[in-house]
């Protein structure tokens, strides 16, 4: 394989994955409205295109043509930078997620479907995921509005609390798999003949799975933990003063973060591309399995949003520090014990 060939392959993968994520984020806005409508006996958007499928496109056009407002007294530079800071990290984290095993077309192996097969993939994700909060904090602060500031304060407190749980649960997975490379974590779970191949039913990772999923909700500021927006109390939270494309950037950020988190859950706990009862499935079946699993988790995000009421902020903090953190620590200790006794 020449250098040029390698470069072109990497470029193709980048384009495919990046466009995929952006499109999924756009479609999620439609899915959000459709599912919420169905749960409320409504039909949802159905005017633009067949079944309203072109609604995200129409929304995009609308966002581009809307008036951009900058509040008086806002820090202009930060006010503009914040939406970019919010959208960028979640798009960058997608780079290390492996979507499919080695792609083999016509006997030629193009490597796994991932942009960067990093040995420290998990560290990369955690580092960039931590950056995403800056967009929210800066956006809230730069708006020069009390609602925005309160929203971003809440977001920061919430992220710090739940990032701990998130990291500790991931750590137990790392202990199980013995690697920080996401592809290797998937491969460690792909011995599908074992009943407990996937981390989710490998003793004792079910607890970690539940904790992780709940923590992703908090990490992406989704219901029932969307305290940084919290319409009834804070108008629109950190994005109260944002409009048009700047506001849309926050939304793209939120939905692509959801996508990444859903994919990460699948990779860490549900065996990534591995297909139950078909150990040597071809790569495209693996890709389909990965996408289907991710889709299920994306649906869970929506499903929970339109089911559960919002927590109170003190409840959220109590849950994070007094329940999740001890449970995650305990889980790590037990995992360590199990692994060392194996």
């Amino acid at each position: 394989m020449t250098t040029l060939e390698g470069f072109l392959i990497a470029l193709a993968k980048t384009v495919v994955i990046f466009l995929g994520v952006v499109n999924v984020a756009a479609l999620m806005t439609l899915a959000e409205r459709k599912f919420s409508a169905w749960m409320q006996y409504r039909i949802g958007p159905n005017r633009v295109g067949p079944y309203g499928l072109l609604q995200p496109l129409a929304d995009g056009v609308k966002f581009i043509f809307k008036e951009e407002l900058t509040p008086a007294g806002a820090n202009r530079f930060m006010f503009r930078a914040a939406p970019i800071l919010a959208a960028l990290p979640s798009m960058m984290t997608i780079a290390v997620i492996p979507f499919a095993p080695d792609i083999v077309i016509g006997g030629k192996n193009f490597g796994a479907l991932t942009i960067a097969d990093l040995d420290i993939g998990i560290l990369y994700i955690l580092a960039l995921g931590g950056l995403a909060i800056y967009g929210v904090i800066l956006g809230g602060w730069a708006s020069n509005s009390k609602y925005s500031l309160l929203g971003s304060l809440r977001a920061s407190a919430q992220m710090i609390s739940y990032e701990l749980t998130l990291i500790l649960t991931i750590l137990s997975v790392v202990v199980m798999s013995g690697s920080l490379n996401l592809r290797e974590i998937v491969e460690a779970q792909s011995d599908i003949t074992r009943w407990n191949a996937w981390n989710v039913h490998a003793m004792p990772q079910f607890v970690a799975f539940v904790l992780f999923v709940v923590a992703t909700f908090a990490e992406t500021n989704r219901h029932p933990f969307d305290f940084s927006e919290c319409e009834p109390e804070l108008v629109g939270g950190f994005h109260t003063e944002y409009s048009a494309m700047k506001w849309a950037m926050f939304y793209i950020g939120e939905y692509s973060a959801m996508t990444v988190m859903a994919a990460l859950t699948v990779v860490l706990f549900l065996g990534g591309w591995s297909v139950p009862f078909w150990p040597d499935a071809p790569w495209y079946v693996g890709l389909a399995a990965m996408l289907a699993k991710t889709g299920c988790f994306l649906f869970l995000f929506l499903w929970v949003r339109w089911t559960l009421p919002r927590f109170r902020f003190d409840q959220l903090m109590r849950l994070g520090w007094k329940v999740f953190l001890p449970l995650a620590l305990l889980n790590l200790v037990v995992t360590g014990a199990v692994v060392s006794l194996r």
């Binding site: 169905w38 749960m39 409504r42 039909i43 539940v210 499903w303 929970v304 089911t307």
Partner: protein
């Protein structure tokens, strides 16, 4: 003083997760139930004789407007939506409106004008749709408000029926 006794929670409820799952199952089931959305422009709202839409002026069978511009609807209008200027005509009833404007953006469809009218000249039609590109276009003038009596007959009959309940014979 009222002491509210909170229900003692069971273990499953305290754990929260089973209750979350129960809630999720409810919303999931609801997704497949029949929808109540009305596809508005294709499926218009049902209109009955009681429908109180935008006010319209009656034009009698002899093509003369029933309004004599007495100004009682103008005075009754709580939203100050009506403006009338009168003028003289050669008909037996000497007076008719030269200008009769209803600002549809102000109109709140309350029906006070219909009630105030001593000449049965203004009725709440069943027309409900209101959209245009400018505010000026939504200030309806007399030509936009005129409707033949036949078009409003359903509402006229309804109002007469309701009024009969308390009407007494009068020498007028």
């Amino acid at each position: 003083m009222v002491i509210v006794k909170r229900k003692e929670l069971s273990l499953a409820e305290k754990l929260y997760l089973p209750e979350v799952l129960r809630g999720l199952s409810v919303t999931f089931r609801k997704m497949f139930e029949p929808k109540v959305t009305r596809q508005y422009p294709e499926e218009p709202l049902p209109k009955t004789e009681v429908t109180r839409g935008q006010p319209r002026l009656v034009v009698n069978e002899d093509d003369a407007i029933a309004c004599v511009s007495c100004g009682l609807c103008e005075a009754a209008c709580p939203a100050y939506a009506i403006t009338i200027d009168g003028g003289e005509t050669d008909r037996a009833i000497e007076r008719e409106p030269k200008r009769f404007d209803i600002d549809m953006l102000r109109c709140i469809l309350c029906g006070f004008c219909e009630e105030a009218c001593p000449k049965d000249a203004i009725y709440m039609s069943d027309e409900l749709e209101l959209a245009d590109y400018s505010r000026e276009a939504l200030i309806y003038d007399i030509e936009k408000l005129k409707r033949p009596k036949a078009a409003l007959q359903k509402r006229i009959d309804y109002v007469n029926r309701i009024n009969k309940r308390w009407q007494t014979p009068s020498s007028t």
